[in-house]
Symmetry: D2
Subunit: 320 residues, 4 copies
Amino acid sequence: MKRIAVLTSGGDAPGMNAAIRAIVRKGIYDGLEVYGINYGYAGMVAGDIHQLTVDDVGDTISRGGTILYSARYPEFQEIEGQQKGIEQLKKFGIDGLIVIGGDGSYRGGAALTKLGFPTIGIPGTIDNDISGTEYTLGFDTAINTVLDSVDKIRDTATSHVRTFIIEVMGRNAGDIALWTGVGSGAESIVIPEVNFTMEEVVKEIEDGRKRGKKHTIILLAEGVMNGNDFAAELEKYKSFHTRVTVLGHVQRGGSPSARDRVLGSLFGYNAVQLLEEGKGGICIGIRGTQIVFNDIIETLETKRHVPYLSLYQINKEISF
Amino acid sequence: MKRIAVLTSGGDAPGMNAAIRAIVRKGIYDGLEVYGINYGYAGMVAGDIHQLTVDDVGDTISRGGTILYSARYPEFQEIEGQQKGIEQLKKFGIDGLIVIGGDGSYRGGAALTKLGFPTIGIPGTIDNDISGTEYTLGFDTAINTVLDSVDKIRDTATSHVRTFIIEVMGRNAGDIALWTGVGSGAESIVIPEVNFTMEEVVKEIEDGRKRGKKHTIILLAEGVMNGNDFAAELEKYKSFHTRVTVLGHVQRGGSPSARDRVLGSLFGYNAVQLLEEGKGGICIGIRGTQIVFNDIIETLETKRHVPYLSLYQINKEISF
Amino acid sequence: MKRIAVLTSGGDAPGMNAAIRAIVRKGIYDGLEVYGINYGYAGMVAGDIHQLTVDDVGDTISRGGTILYSARYPEFQEIEGQQKGIEQLKKFGIDGLIVIGGDGSYRGGAALTKLGFPTIGIPGTIDNDISGTEYTLGFDTAINTVLDSVDKIRDTATSHVRTFIIEVMGRNAGDIALWTGVGSGAESIVIPEVNFTMEEVVKEIEDGRKRGKKHTIILLAEGVMNGNDFAAELEKYKSFHTRVTVLGHVQRGGSPSARDRVLGSLFGYNAVQLLEEGKGGICIGIRGTQIVFNDIIETLETKRHVPYLSLYQINKEISF
Amino acid sequence: MKRIAVLTSGGDAPGMNAAIRAIVRKGIYDGLEVYGINYGYAGMVAGDIHQLTVDDVGDTISRGGTILYSARYPEFQEIEGQQKGIEQLKKFGIDGLIVIGGDGSYRGGAALTKLGFPTIGIPGTIDNDISGTEYTLGFDTAINTVLDSVDKIRDTATSHVRTFIIEVMGRNAGDIALWTGVGSGAESIVIPEVNFTMEEVVKEIEDGRKRGKKHTIILLAEGVMNGNDFAAELEKYKSFHTRVTVLGHVQRGGSPSARDRVLGSLFGYNAVQLLEEGKGGICIGIRGTQIVFNDIIETLETKRHVPYLSLYQINKEISF
């Protein structure tokens, strides 16, 4: 192993720069050359590849986004794209790859692995919806960002008798809604992984009102439905003076939290070590304070992410 | 003057608590009794009035929202409501009133003044759309909150070739969009006070693209149109991969900025002094570091707020 | 079990209010009465005890500090104090206790356990120096607070050729320095758990200078020595234009992070359940996403907290 | 005027990058070439000068510090240094200069003016101690940073009976202590511009204690004395369980506030316009929303900055 490369793919997430920085520094520390690929798999196929120095990643650990840019590139699902990509890597003399991203990035990584190119996957997405790890890179920052917004909304909510519906990201996963629901003491959390009826939500609002609560906050995962549709459904039962806030892209940005900086550093460092040991086809994760390694193909094909569901029940008993 | 009262009305704004605190403390310091009226004019008419102590306002200077709650109460435009309100105040022995809020609050204050009840107005609204003052209470916090969000969106914007439309509050005023547009280096600012054509906006986006800019940020005041309509208009010209973020109620909340805490303290302190001097029918403002006093009726009827329009031109020349 | 009580003791930590809130809500949800004890063991002995309602803990999840106040009370190490405390609890009809705090709080809890009073310990301290848990309540917020400060110092550090020594809390533990050192990309981390020589630190600074680095940041745990002494030691070798910042009590405050809010909720909820199951003498911890229970006496007497030392080596290889 | 240059000098301040950005963009917009001088007057004399493009200042408006670095350079007080500096500027074909900084920067600017080189001064310092302007660039960010810290300290202060002494920057000026004292509701503010006796401070603490206050916060300007000396003085009277926090360099950093970004943009834009109009020897300021121009030599020699002293008296009456 002499030359390795790194790319970020899919939605960007805070902490990606910490991972890139660790990969570059650890690689150089060990005598490797490290290359960056811009715009994910699209840039790989296009040959948008350049060497990275220690200075290139200076002062990046505290920056949101990704200095390597990112892109979605569905064409990489085809074998032609994959082969073209490997060709490009070989042209630069690169013999190992680290991909940082979500599901789609992992699928690319698995494909490259099947074609014999040593690839390591780092789970980087705010959605926390990747198997083989307790936490993905960016999730911790995202939930802090959401909470900061919900706290602000609660400031103003207390003035009026209103029901605030806050739609948060997460694709098909409810993790962001679940954690920020507990963290903000939301009266109701609505996520795709738990069945619910509008009647229940109505009851939660009305129970709160009976106990003298002037306002209600509902944390809604985008995977269930969008906030405005939810409000419309709710208003069919009764006028709850709903206000909808769709937090949107704010959730992806911001300086990474302490956890995400440390997690990115750990992930990046270990990814380089794996390549150095001649390993590939592995995705990295964390369990407690333990870094864990899983087969990327097996993880993708057989495991399913499950959120921390006991939080759901706990919230019912402490945020009524 | 022995007993004075304070209420907050309309949309709540950060810094209202700082003003309430200053009123209560300065009043008590000078030997007055100070009463709080909950829920604005609605609470005044309903007699939701209670005495406030030094401790009641302890640790509130850093809190968003308003500890006196707020409400909109259009019924107060009728003379019956106004007379009923004065009756309630007199029942509590209150002989001077301070109202904190926007336009609607001022109209209430002007009405009470016409009926002979000494009333002082403090401009409290994030919109900065009140005449007779350079800045309203809450505006400074709101523009910092918006900027924090725009910075986060820009983190993620740089990864993709996209056009972000960020809709901000301000009712009919463009102040929030204008200041945060300059503060974030937005490529385009769209406010109600300046005519624009979609062609111009299209040109600004395309000029940026030609110079190599990958992303564009447009700050849109809600007074022009809503973000989704704006995006639809824009897409008629060409697909700009627009993403719309409606910042919503987040903008009203949060711990007040340093300025808003100091401004609230200054406004509250001076309002008490005016009542002590036997004055009424006055609204308070700030010009530079000077506290200014205007006739509330005259201000409402003859003056119109104008935003800091030179910022608009400056932005065109520095954020192209 | 009909009536339980909760106290916070030792240095306060962000997230304590989240735990108190969960205890009160979960208790009431299950039909218990929940009492709060002010000022830790001192208040227990003095009988400063009062019932808590659902509303008493409303809007507290986002607040720093502890609504039950805290105190150090070395007198509780004597059996007389402990017996007096139990007497007071019995006077109020309380038959189970939850203590939130660090080492000292645990010692009190162990003593009560030995005297037969069912007591549960929740690890609440920013120092992360408690055995039987991967993380203590408050640590996550503290490392984010420290990082925010270090980022600000780095802004200004880049302008000058200087060496910044940042002294952080942690008592005898290096966890805060270790995590924030990695999170900020500090050129040097100095903690009590790893031997170091001034020569090594000097070498790290000079190596950086040779590679063109203009500034150096050293994260120093207070358990090693204080910042000014460290600077004096360093200047014996050469003038490095050192600037010392002692972050101090800022590190204890602030709105709790998402993690600390969720962790506090989990800890509080589970503590109540343990008491309901008739258990006592247990301290709660977290491993990964798993809540764990340990014997409080055994934990205190036989286990020693060890920081996440692999971070130390990793930082040497990525922040040179 | 074809080529202009900009430098930052003295202590760096948030918003300097916003000003540099505005200068570069406005200059290029108008067809000028704009050069950056690294490390202030030292770099000017050394010829550390390079052209700046629109891209060089991209994404800098939100960054703390200064991309042009800064330095103190007392040698520039000698005429030889000044002449050498002008020579260097002429070698690059530069015919106008903008200096951003405090007192020292202004003195350099005045000297260049006397030697006939057109120079414009922008007040950039967190201390707010420059005449000819109500606010200096960086002051608004600094007071928000300080308040954030004081709020955190107050969280923990409420748990114990203690007196917190918080030493803040400001050199010989009390502005930072004054504004943040009012903004945090400090029980005592100690600044160089107002005489005080330790007896008064003691009385303020004791009066608070009598009214049931558990903690006291004292905002101390570094221009009076340092925090530890102050604590020692105070403890001579009685043990107040003082804790000292010296906020230090944290105060200089951080992403600039909305105000400082707008102010920097306004200052930079107007500075370029002045040079284009053939003017020099002027320092820029703001009064209310009005940009004002003063003779830099006269300002330096005859005017003295006075803080907003009415805040001092107001605080006594609302934060007792």
